[in-house]
């Protein structure tokens, strides 16, 4: 698995409140792949986000789904704080920030 594969998998993790995947939202700050081991640095839209724990669980689930030998670690960071400008065009469109 390489970082692109991981990113593709993470696109299946949908923020349950916004209905947008976490990669498009820009919540994934870093993906490191060492052999079969994957380390994700991610954030949430706000530090008090009640979905934070659930999002981490979802990331772990999609990465550990199916046959894989390595470990998965997820680190939640708030520096830098998430900003909507980190989201991609499609996410901005869904948020209503740019016309559809």
């Amino acid at each position: 698995m390489n970082t692109r594969d991981v990113e593709q998998k993470l696109r299946h993790v949908i923020d349950p409140e916004l209905g947008i995947d976490i990669v498009s939202l820009g919540l994934v700050y870093g993906i490191e792949v060492e052999g079969e081991d994957v380390h994700i640095a991610m954030t949430t839209t706000s530090p008090q986000c009640p979905m934070g724990e659930a999002l981490v669980g979802m990331v772990e689930s999609v990465l550990e789904y199916g046959e894989r030998d390595g470990t998965t670690s997820v680190e939640v960071v708030f520096d830098p704080p998430w900003d909507v400008r980190m989201a991609d065009m499609a996410a901005l469109r869904q948020l209503g920030l740019v016309p559809r």
Binding site: I14, P50, G52, L95
Partner: protein
Amino acid sequence: MTLAAPGRGPALALVAPFFLAAPLGLALAGLILAFSNGDTLLAINAPRTVALTHAAVIGWLTMGIFGAVYQLGPAVLGGRLVSSRLARVHFFVHATVVPAFVWTFWQWDVRLMGYAASGLVLSFILFLINAFPAIGTLRRGALPARYLGASLVMLAVTAGFGITWAGTLQHLWFPVTMGRLAGHAHLGLLGWLGLTLMGVAYQLAPMFNVVQRKRPVAGGPILALTVTAALGGGLVLMADPGPWVRLAVAAAMAAGPGAWGIEMLRLMLARSRRTLDVQGRATFVSLGFLVVTICLGLLAAIGKPVSPGHEPTRLLLGYGIAGVSGWAGIMLIGNSYKILPFLVWYHRYRQLAGIRPVPVVADIYSEGAARAVLAVHTTGTIVAIAGALLGDLNILRAGGLMLTLGAALHMVSLAHIVLAPHAPAPRRIGPGEVATR
């Protein structure tokens, strides 16, 4: 991994009954309004009006707020419940006592009122045992926790005066003058309901509407101002002051919510989630009613009594409906469509998410049904205010019926959230990709 707020949610079966039962209080209040009689427009302390008030504030709003505190405390503020079983017992106590309490006002049976009032005090004690730890030790300095802490104290103070007034109605220790009535009423309305909703809004409005470019700037001073005005103003009102002092108290009481309203408007206008869902819409509508409430409240403070010895009843009634049903009520209705679906998602789908397609929060409630509830309730509130201000009993009654209809719709749509199966809607999951998750 460190998360500032662990997403520990209480059981759905604990919180949902509070949200499902709350609209019953609104339906009851609407029905009482629909059965208004001539006294309703003549005296603000007419038995039916006091029954109506408590059905709305304790049966509806307080019941809903109980559910919200039990949910948001552990899930968002990092607190914990002392005992879930106690919270369940509390539900049954409150749900049993409220109809009895309202009935004693309707009948004006001062003896039974005393018993029912004691039951209500018990309900509040059971709540407070869980509520103080629930609002969090982790983030006690945070604005919402400070507002909620203050509002819980205000609830205790309000209930203290309430049981005293019920006691004196039975034992005739002293008269419950209009001023004493107004003091207790404002401690409850501004101190308990107002502060709670203001605090919860500081948490939820920016979170759900993705507000980042602006932060609350005056939350602390607004809290201090509102607590001082509710407590100080409430006590001053109890001394039955003259019109100018009443006006000064009214202005002081309006200042906090007014400034908070401006803050909310600033935050909401800076939101990154431009598409408004029912919670966002309800926030704006509720802010509109806050303006109406403040205007009517100030007018009522200087208003001419309709007859000697009476308050300006029609203005006060309109003011009360605007504040309770409009400002506070619509805020609660809007937030119900976030809090309850979140809880359902958390308990039913969190474990499955990432493994198989699950609905998102927006798939769990019907936006169309929620907007219909908001529209019917808003119309009912406007009609009832108009009926009160015009002194037209039929318009007032029609408003009451609409509020009951809105409450029934609200209850059905909340029950649907909890009981119905939910399907994930088709949505984009990656660039250029549309999939049915």
